[in-house]
């Protein structure tokens, strides 16, 4: 189910909120779990079983780790390894099997073989990257003694499957919600703040991301077919705005829904395009993934404790795997390498990059332009398209977009307003926490407009559903 769909907003959410309010405290976790299964199963009911399996494995393995420790049979590493194998195996199969086969076929063809053996494409379960990371983080945290084991399976299911953040994050570590899983309160303040975040998120998605999306789509569709430099830059700026408003909008809605249920979820975005370096960008963009990769991968690889060269290697490896986490394609690997490269450059140069000493607006602009380069790789369907788009950005394209593909007035409005929101307003969480009355009243109009526009367009899924 998609947050920005009629079925969610006008059927699932009202029904759930009513039932949740009426459910006795002891059954609330079960109610969330059940609703989450409906929410997830709406897309493909059979994949609920996969999520159940993944949850059950980590629930029992974490208990086995504690049992080993209590019985003096070591730290329970074997169970941790089992968890890694099962989780990464599932992720590998569902997310990367097709990619592996395609790569293998390409290799065979390069070696002169036919490479046309039969293969039925594996369907990628929505959100598997997110919930697998969550179940893994639980087992790792228990192994590292940073979290208690959860006593009731239903609570663990509730944690893994919780519909607000199930399919596209934020990635919530077990330790973050451990207390609230056991006991949480629902107050009017939380409820109000949750509603505001939900409204902000929906407005960002529908009134900004979806409005500028056709500009980006048109530009990428025309890459190599007459796209000129102006069209390419406009297209990639539009995509930068689209992906930010789309993903941060989803995160805002998820955090808001969490508050409506009584949970405090981690913040996922903090004005990333206001960052003054790529290093800072990654502290502000998809923060829960950044911290996950930092804590469970970069530090596990040695972090910065093994000398500068190893630090650079660790940074690069972390970003390469982070890129691959986003999708099974060489463009994502290249995107990870691109981000890793700039992180290494900035770390190597310390405060001496060419833009580090420039005025703040220039530093922000430079960082944004560097981020745009990454978005080309992120958005392109294949390295060929990315190459054609880069060529167009630097004047190697054609004579311009056909008139039919030019942005309309609505898209221009989205671009201008989007730019203002990105650089001229505080973050969503700050707006919702301040709740200035004038802003709240303006937001109500925007919320109604977003709902109206949702009626107008068919349901448009969030971009991060594919990861």
């Amino acid at each position: 189910m998609v947050f920005s769909s009629s079925i969610f907003l006008y059927a699932f959410l009202p029904a759930f909120l009513l039932l949740y309010a009426l459910t006795p405290r002891v059954l609330k976790a079960a109610a969330i779990t059940l609703a989450s299964f409906v929410f997830y199963g709406w897309w493909r009911p059979d994949f609920v079983l996969l999520m159940l399996f993944s949850s059950a494995v980590d629930y029992w393995l974490a208990r086995a780790i504690v049992a080993d420790r209590a019985a003096g049979r070591g730290r329970g590493k074997r169970w941790l390894v089992t968890s890694m194998v099962v989780n990464l195996g599932l992720l590998g199969w569902f997310k990367y099997a097709n990619f592996g086969v395609e790569t293998f076929r390409a290799l065979l063809r390069a070696c002169g073989f036919a490479g046309d053996f039969a293969w039925v494409d594996v369907v990628l379960p929505v959100g598997i990257s997110f919930y697998t990371f969550q179940t893994m983080s639980y087992t790792i945290d228990v192994y590292r003694d940073r979290a208690h084991t959860v006593s009731r399976f239903v609570d663990f299911l509730c944690y893994v499957s919780m519909f607000p953040q199930l399919v596209a994050g934020p990635i919530v570590r077990y330790a973050v919600v451990e207390e609230e899983l056991r006991s949480r309160t629902r107050t009017w303040a939380k409820c109000y703040q949750g509603i505001l975040l939900l409204q902000i998120g929906l407005a960002k998605k529908v009134l900004l991301a979806d409005l500028v999306a056709p500009v980006a789509d048109g530009a990428f569709a025309a890459a190599g077919f007459g796209l000129d430099a102006a069209g390419a830059w406009l297209g990639i700026v539009a995509y930068a705005l689209q992906i930010y408003f789309d993903f941060s909008g989803y995160s805002d809605m998820a955090i808001g829904l969490g508050l409506l249920l009584g949970f405090h979820f981690p913040i996922n975005f903090d004005r990333p395009y206001a960052a003054q370096s790529i290093t800072e960008f990654w502290r502000r963009w998809h923060m829960t993934l950044s911290s996950f990769l930092r804590d469970y991968l970069y530090i596990a690889l040695g972090g910065n404790r093994l000398g500068p060269v190893r630090t650079y290697v660790n940074l690069m490896a972390t970003m390469l795997l982070g890129g691959l986490w986003h999708g099974a394609a060489w463009t994502f690997v290249a995107w990870g390498a691109y981000q890793g490269f700039w992180l290494v450059v900035e770390r190597f140069a310390g405060g001496r990059t060419c833009y580090a000493s420039a005025p703040v607006p220039v530093r922000i602009a430079c960082t944004f332009v560097l981020a745009l380069g990454g978005w080309v790789l992120f958005r392109a369907h294949g390295m060929g398209e990315a190459g054609a788009f880069f060529a167009a950005m630097f004047g190697g394209g054609g004579a311009g977009l056909p008139a039919e593909s030019a942005p309309d007035l609505l898209a221009w409005t989205g671009l201008v307003v989007g730019g203002f929101v990105v650089w001229g307003t505080p973050s969503s969480q700050r707006l919702a926490s301040r709740a200035a009355p004038a802003f709240v009243l303006l937001l109500q109009g925007l919320f109604a407009l977003a709902l109206l526009h949702l009626h107008y367009q068919d349901d448009v899924p969030f971009l991060y559903f594919q990861f």
Partner: protein
């Protein structure tokens, strides 16, 4: 132990959770804003859910290819793969009253303020909006669909002519073709596809009004609405006059018009505010010119007079019964032009042929002097299959007498092969169950016939419970008639153009009610009189060495040729039937590969010229064999 922090959200971290400050309700203004936000949120979500659940609106009635696609999606919906959930979402969206009303106001606003249209639409110059799916061709077999439509119209015209009625077909050119100068540069509307419709109808001998030519004579005028797919009031008047000229010939009068600038009327205000439940996507053009036919207009009736002579019958779609602007201006212009009353059975969103069938069933025993059928071209040239099914229309008309064709009777001038083994559509009481259909099948490739209406399927009996669907299935084309109680005879001609290599008559239950059919008889007949059978004689081989048989027949025009092959063995053969005309020319009547060696062929002559001889060219059959040939002549009634 790690603990989550509820810190200042300005500090980036990665595990910092959202903080709920204690000052959210500190001031009166904040409390007011909070109450407003919570109430507004509840009203919009819970209110919409409640209104849509308690008072849903009827879902749009789909027709043609869209209806077929939707039905296929419905039938294929499964719980396990989530397709059923998609169907539920679709139903929820389409039946949402809030959505329907909200969009009626919002869509025009978007269009007028931002010039924005949906993805399915294309914005041209001067504010003109076009539908993308009407630009694209419907499929590879478009020409075949149009030929089939023309052939079916020709058969209908023949049936009506026999009853003293005249069929006039009015294909409406697509807006994209007529207003092509308003399309974005480089967009090709595919004019040749509309031209093909008129050409094919003319070639089939159908009385057709070439509205494309009529409109192209008024190029530069706003013949279609800017933001509507239908013709404008100017278009209605031009079309009405063109149809009147065709119907009344020299007696037609050009309708005199009065015009005025449109004013906003109360109902339009309601429409703009979204209070009109029938609101369409766009508002009518404002300001616009309103036309009215000046002087007395002959009456326009939505139903036939109870007795006496019937007026001209018009059936059609939302072009004839337009829901935007003046709903009857086209009909008024037609009535004023011909100087006669018009009975309009057209309906917005309707398919003209079921509407024609319904109209004809209301006046059993009487027939209008002229039947005008308006058909939008996009239904023919932008749909994946023709949505027009003529079975109901034929079943509503008195059938021709026909000549019953026996099965396997060598003594008859022309006969049919016996029904294939397993055929269950036999006389007697037939319980029609949801999972079981009864069928009668002529052996595939053992009977080859032209779908020109010469072959008739006749069922006698009565439906004693429920309703039965009678389907005449020729493989790539199905024609369906719903047989209900009160009717004892159903005759459906095999129409659709081209040649059929298979013929099934299938009867199944229609709807969910139990159905019982007491079938008296099923027989096949020819809408023609077979002449005497003539034996074909071995002739000189063809240039490529193929065996040729030739049957000299009385030089006479014929509507069809019956051939009974008698090639020994069981190996399938290729066969060609050529006709030698009285003037010495040769025309091909049939080319068919891999037919059964003793196949029965009933093919259209395709010419009005007298036929002197029939040549049968086969790829084998060395011994002399007794092929038989029969000319079928149009029966005079």
């Amino acid at each position: 132990m790690h603990t989550a922090t509820r810190s200042d959200p300005r500090q980036p971290g990665g595990n910092d959770v959202i903080a709920t400050p204690a000052t959210l309700f500190a001031t009166r203004a904040q409390r007011f804003a909070a109450a407003t936000a919570i109430a507004w949120f509840a009203l919009l979500l819970f209110g919409t859910a409640l209104v849509d659940a308690v008072a849903p609106v009827p879902r749009p009635e789909l027709i043609g290819a869209e209806a077929a696609t939707a039905e296929r999606a419905r039938a294929a919906a499964r719980f396990a793969d989530g397709t059923l959930a998609r169907q539920v979402e679709l139903v929820q969206r389409e039946s949402s009253r809030v959505r329907r009303y909200a969009l009626a106001a919002y869509v025009p606003l978007l269009y007028r303020a931002f010039g924005v249209v949906r993805d399915t639409q294309l914005l041209g110059s001067d504010g003109f909006v076009f539908l993308r799916n009407r630009l694209a061709p419907g499929g590879r077999d478009q020409g075949e669909h149009v030929r089939a439509f023309a052939s079916s119209c020709a058969t209908l015209a023949r049936w009506l002519d026999r009853l003293g009625s005249r069929l006039v077909v009015v294909p409406i050119p697509r807006k994209e073709v007529v207003m092509h100068d308003r399309l974005p540069a480089g967009v090709d509307p595919g004019r040749e596809r509309d031209v093909m419709v008129y050409d094919q109808l003319r070639r089939a001998g159908v009385d057709v009004v070439d509205l494309l030519a009529a409109f192209e004579a008024h190029i530069g005028e706003p013949l279609f609405g800017r933001a509507d797919t239908h013709w404008s009031q100017t278009g209605m008047v031009v079309a009405g006059a063109a149809v009147a000229r065709q119907v009344a010939g020299a007696a037609a009068r050009a309708p005199a018009l009065v015009t005025a600038i449109a004013h906003t009327e109360p109902w339009q205000l309601a429409y703009a505010l979204g209070l009109d439940p029938s609101a369409a996507t766009f508002l009518p053009d404002r300001p616009s010119v309103v036309c009215a036919v000046q002087g007395p207009v002959p009456p326009i009736a939505p139903r036939p007079p109870a007795d006496g002579a019937l007026p001209v019958l018009l059936t059609g779609t939302s072009f004839s019964a337009n829901h935007i602007g003046d709903p009857t201006l086209f009909v008024e212009a037609l009535a004023a032009g011909i100087g006669q009353p018009v009975w309009s059975a057209a309906r917005a969103g309707g398919n003209p042929f079921p509407l024609l069938a319904a109209a004809l069933e209301r006046v059993v025993g009487r027939c209008p002097p002229v039947v005008v059928v308006e058909v939008p071209n996009h239904m023919l040239v932008s749909a994946s299959a023709s949505p027009h099914d003529f079975a109901g229309v034929f079943a509503a008309l008195p059938p021709p007498a026909g000549t019953v064709l026996p099965h396997g009777d060598a003594a008859a001038p022309f006969d049919l092969p016996p029904l294939a083994r397993g055929s269950t559509l036999l006389p007697g009481r037939l319980e029609l169950r949801p999972t079981k259909a009864h069928f009668a099948r002529l052996p595939w490739d053992g009977f080859v016939c032209s779908r020109d209406g010469t072959l008739l399927v006749e069922l006698r009996g009565r439906v004693v419970a429920g309703a039965a669907a009678v389907v005449v299935d020729t493989g790539d084309r199905q024609s369906t008639f719903v047989w209900r109680a009160g009717r004892e005879r159903v005759v459906i001609p095999v129409v659709g153009g081209g040649t059929a290599r298979r013929l099934d008559v299938v009867v199944r239950r229609h709807g969910s009610e139990p159905a019982v059919l007491e079938l008296g008889s099923l027989q096949f007949a020819a809408d023609a009189e077979p002449g005497p059978a003539v034996a074909a004689q071995r002739s000189a081989p063809a240039a490529d060495g193929a065996v040729v048989y030739r049957a000299d027949v009385a030089a006479a025009p014929a509507v069809g040729i019956g051939v009974r092959l008698a090639v020994p063995g069981t190996t399938r053969i290729d066969v060609r039937i050529d006709l030698e005309l009285a003037d010495g020319r040769t025309v091909a009547a049939l080319v068919a590969n891999a037919v059964q060696p003793k196949a029965h062929l009933l093919v259209a002559a395709g010419t009005d010229e007298p036929i002197r001889a029939v040549r049968i060219v086969t790829g084998g059959a060395e011994p002399r064999v007794p092929h038989r040939v029969v000319l079928l002549h149009r029966r005079r009634e």
